[in-house]
């Protein structure tokens, strides 16, 4: 469905040799409040179309908005976590434009009086370098409804026979976070963009104000990008690539636009200020509507709402309650767990950090917690295409498995089977051990018999060991493990063999 444009791209390195990219990132975060920003309707996803609406979020004549206090609190928390100043007094404003999925034909937003402004977010790049992204503002607004265009080939409005409107999303609280122009990132601009959005997502999750799932549209990013020749101060004309909805896409979109802009500029052309759509399939962007002149939203202060003046004591209270910043927390955990930045990144990407932390808190040693979540369980999640957190196993259960391993009651192979049993819904680790009979054979009598039989069956190897060639014991251990179907404690088997043959381990 990609609309092909005749675009030539300049090789990335060549583009960067001539030009310096400047980016601006606008991220919309849907807050996880129970109710909408200006009415009491539920924000739950997946309900029947238009079932979560009322006169206010449908823009009925006479209906009025009332501000959701949790929405304001979330905005202040985000502002504080982004090192912003929190306005002592701010207002909502109306952004006026007509669109069928916007019930009032104005969006209640904030204009020149945002609740939070002048902040920054330090983001860590893959090589460990920390890049500071400056924040212009974070403001509160409401989401629009959704249009579903029916009858066309592309799902876009063009060619559709009619459109359906679902206002369930209309009025869901949004925080829009706008960066200042990001300069000086050079060739790393796409990487900075991705790292910024990733860091912001972690931050939002840590603040517990949204699940920030990009794939569900709870976090959406617009990438504004322009190029200027090296040495020039004035910004070039920018393009605005809308709704880039994954971390990888953010990086690709920035990269693509750098190459596209460079091609246009190299060819003596001019960049048109326009909205562009990003295409996941091939990482390209295509032109949306051209902004012939700056759109005039006729902003004015929202007369239906009173100004918001967050009391200073309350702001300080919220500041005191902020969680550890994700980047600093990662640094601390890396040190505590003794892992590399790369391993830490893998755990983060797998969504395992919180689960591992919880498993350690439940009593497991760090290395085991990491091993099981990133090994057996990650594999299982991968195979079933689910998130780690969605697997039917709790950190406490994983910790119990680790405990059994430490106590020598399970070996790794058995532990994997126990995890498998828990995931299959067979019950707690102890129940699975019981039902499947997975205990390490620790009955000295039974084990002794198995050892004696192995010695008897392999007289040549036994002689070598007696003669002091202890390394040969491995073969006998293997035989005993095979005979006990892996349920023996290999270390104990080795001890018994050496003991019986009079050799010293």
């Amino acid at each position: 469905m990609t609309v092909t444009e005749h675009v030539s791209l300049v090789p990335y390195e060549d583009a960067l040799a001539t030009y310096d990219p400047v980016m601006g990132l606008e991220v919309h975060v849907e807050l996880g409040t129970r109710t909408k920003m200006f009415c009491g309707c539920s924000t739950e996803l997946g309900a029947d179309p238009n079932s979560q609406t009322c006169p206010t979020c449908l823009g009925m004549p006479g209906a009025l908005p009332v501000v959701n206090a949790i929405g304001v609190e979330s905005a202040v928390k985000i502002g504080l976590a982004l090192n912003c100043e929190i306005a002592e007094w701010c207002r909502f404003a109306r952004k006026n434009y007509f669109y069928p999925d916007m019930p009032k034909n104005f969006q209640t937003s904030q204009y020149d009086e945002p609740i939070a402004f002048n902040g920054y977010l330090d983001v860590q790049l893959e090589d460990g370098e920390v890049f500071r992204v400056e924040i212009e503002r974070a403001h509160m607004e409401e989401d629009t409804g959704k249009s579903l265009h029916v009858g066309g080939a592309t799902g876009r409005i063009h060619g559709a026979s009619h459109s359906l409107l679902d206002y369930n999303r209309a009025g869901i609280p949004l925080i829009e976070i706008v960066t200042k122009p990001i300069e000086g990132a050079g060739a790393r601009a796409p990487e900075v963009a991705k790292a910024y959005v990733a860091e912001l997502r972690e931050l939002i999750k840590a603040l517990d104000v949204s699940e920030a799932r990009m794939e569900q549209g709870q976090m959406r990013c617009d990438v504004n990008l322009s190029l200027r020749p090296h040495g020039r101060e004035k910004f070039g004309t920018r393009s605005e690539t809308k709704n880039v909805n994954s971390l990888r896409s953010v990086e690709r979109a920035a990269r693509y636009e750098i190459q596209r802009h460079a091609a246009v500029l190299d060819g003596g052309g001019t960049i048109i200020q326009e909205t562009r759509h990003f295409h996941e399939e091939d990482g390209s962007t295509t032109s949306g509507r051209v902004k012939e002149e700056a759109e005039d939203y006729r902003y004015f202060p929202e007369p239906d709402l009173v100004p918001i003046a967050p009391p200073r004591e309350w702001v300080e209270e919220l500041r005191g309650g902020l969680p550890e910043l994700p980047r600093l927390r990662r640094k601390r955990l890396r040190e505590e767990w003794g892992v590399s930045e790369h391993d830490m990144q893998s755990m983060l990407n797998a969504g395992a950090v919180d689960l591992i932390t919880a498993t350690i808190e439940a009593g497991a040693p760090a290395d085991q917690a990491r091993k099981w979540w990133m090994g057996e369980l990650a594999r299982s999640a991968n195979e079933t295409s689910t998130d780690l957190a969605a697997l039917p196993i709790t950190p406490a259960q994983v910790a119990r498995v680790a405990e059994l391993v430490t106590a020598g009651e399970l070996n790794d192979k058995l532990a994997r089977q126990v995890l498998e049993g828990v995931l299959a819904g067979e019950g707690d680790p102890d129940t699975v051990v019981e039902k499947r009979g997975l205990k390490v054979v620790s009955d000295e009598g039974a084990l002794g018999t198995a050892v004696d039989e192995a010695i008897a069956a392999n007289p040549a190897i036994a002689d070598k060991i007696r003669a002091g060639k202890i390394a040969a014991a491995g073969a006998l251990v293997g035989a005993v493990m095979k005979a006990t179907r892996g349920q023996a404690d290999a270390a104990r088997v080795r001890e018994l063999i050496l003991e019986r043959l009079g050799a010293e381990g």
Partner: protein, 501 residues
């Protein structure tokens, strides 16, 4: 039979409530008397856009049953009321006088509607108005004009001309209006009735279709000061659904209306409320009212409020600006009229065609004015400057109220003008609100009550009383004293001089 009903419709709301509470009348009898009156005269007056006969009788029966069960009735239980068609009424059409909402049945009650129902007030129907409350004559209604019961060829005021006419025609003892620039007070003035614009935030705007959110204020209309106070108390007070609603008790308006006095009060007369646009007979009756206040023991102080001269200009930037945004929702997508949806046109085209067909000229004029005033590059010069004027007006009022307890003025510069006279001259029409607009811009409270007939045309003149914000009780204290003195002087309420219909 007819005589009894004639008597019922001439009772005040307070008298009706008392007779229902004592068992002398039933709410159903009272409601039927008014419905009969509406049937008899509304063809001529055209105060109502919709009469809810069944609903009204059901409400009345409920009150009678309540009484039969021995339950305590509220102070206005069983009293009929005419509701301006700008308040949403669940299950009953609400048009705001516009074609664009023709046939719309709201799924919810406005807070004012809900409070009236809870108080046992019987809602007879919805009254005519200038489309979206934009006008001073009710000629801008998409459903035809309303006649002034004093002279059916003249305007009943606007935008709430239906409400004021219903009172003057004895179709209802109570009515509700809304006042953005004078739409309660000016109609009260030209029909010889009483109308109050409460302090902004005193009556909930939830479910009141917005014209200009920062100016709109619902309020009571009646034939006496006490009736207005009783109604004010029922509809007033904090509403969590309206963020601009004031979280404080309703000022003691009923107590004030029952204890009218001006003795020892300082009353201000503002120099700016006079001049070339004022009819001689209006100024004469106003001067007599000031003399009366002195006789009653008030001290009269002359005031200078220079910023009031800028009020009209500021108003005609702020109100259109807000309306251009408030009326954007009428896009044919979710409710109301839809034009051109034949399967070939885009949503944008259908919206444009619907708005072209659904809005009247005055509404379009104000949407365009407001759209322009808010445009980038013009905002500071227009909307921004108008807001500064607003601040100046607030300061002028503050200074004035350091010297006086209330301010008085004519409510509107002229008596009721003939239908059609100003219809094509918006500027002349806008002058009707010269004295009422400053109060809307400042957000304080004001009342209009009859102060006599202009000698040259024999039509009612209104006296405006203005009080500081949240001092609405002063309007009633002064209003009740003035009303009592005039009724004593005239020997009867002014309205009794109106011709019979």
């Amino acid at each position: 039979m007819t005589d009894i009903k004639t008597d019922i419709i001439r009772l005040t709301a307070a008298q009706i409530a008392e007779k229902i509470a004592s068992g002398e009348l039933t709410a159903v009898e009272v409601t039927e008397a008014h419905l009969t009156r509406i049937e008899a005269v509304d063809e001529k007056v055209h105060a109502f856009l919709h009469v809810d006969r069944e609903g009204a009788l059901a409400q009345a029966r409920a009150v009678d049953e309540q009484r039969a069960r021995g339950e305590k009735l509220g102070p206005l239980a069983g009293v009929p009321l005419a509701l301006k068609d700008i308040f949403t009424t669940e299950g009953i059409p609400t048009t705001v006088g516009s074609k664009i909402l023709e046939g719309w049945i709201p799924p919810y009650d406005a807070t004012v509607t809900r409070r009236l129902k809870e108080a046992g007030v019987v809602i007879l129907g919805k009254t005519n108005m200038d489309e979206f409350a934009m006008g001073s004559s009710t000629e801008n209604s998409a459903y035809g004009h309303t006649g002034n019961p004093w002279d059916l060829t003249r305007i009943p005021g606007g935008s709430g001309g239906g409400s004021s006419a219903s009172l003057a025609a004895y179709e209802a003892p109570l009515a509700i209006g809304t006042d953005t620039g004078g739409s309660i007070r000016q109609p009260a003035s030209v029909t010889g009735t009483v109308g109050v614009k409460p302090t902004y935030g005193g009556v909930s705007r939830y479910g009141m279709v917005a014209f200009s959110s920062s100016l709109d204020q619902g309020g009571p209309c009646a034939r006496t000061v006490l009736d207005a106070a009783l109604l004010h108390e029922v509809i007033g007070g904090h509403d969590p659904l309206d963020s601009t609603s004031i979280d404080a008790p309703v000022p003691p308006v009923v107590e004030a209306a029952r204890n009218g006095t001006v003795a020892g009060m300082r009353v201000g007369v503002v120099r700016q409320f006079s001049g070339e646009h004022y009819q001689a007979g209006v100024m004469q009756r106003f001067a007599e009212s000031v003399d009366l206040l002195k006789e009653l023991g008030a001290e009269v102080v002359e005031l200078d409020c220079p910023s009031f001269d800028l009020g009209l200009s500021a108003y005609y930037l702020i109100a259109p600006s807000e309306c251009s945004s408030n009326l954007a929702r009428f896009d044919a997508m979710r409710y109301g009229m839809r034009v051109g949806d034949d399967g070939t046109r885009s949503a944008e085209d259908v919206t444009a065609l619907t708005r072209e067909a659904g809005f009247g000229d005055e509404v379009k004029r104000r949407i365009m004015l407001g759209t322009y005033a808010l445009s980038s590059g013009y905002y500071d010069a227009y909307y921004g400057s108008a807001q500064k004027v607003r601040t100046l007006i607030v300061r002028d009022f503050e200074k004035a109220f350091e010297q006086v307890d209330v301010i008085v003025s004519p409510t509107t510069p002229t008596t009721a003008f003939p239908i059609g006279e100003r219809a094509d001259d918006p500027m002349a029409m806008y002058l009707s609100d010269l004295c009422t607009i400053p109060t809307n811009l400042a957000g304080n409270a004001a009342m209009s009550l009859p102060c006599g007939l202009a000698p040259e045309d024999g039509l009612p003149v209104g006296l405006q009383i203005i009080a500081p914000a949240m001092k609405d009780d002063r309007l009633y204290r002064v209003g009740a004293a003035v009303e009592a003195a005039f009724v004593e002087r005239w020997g009867h309420p002014l309205l009794e001089e109106a011709p019979s219909l």
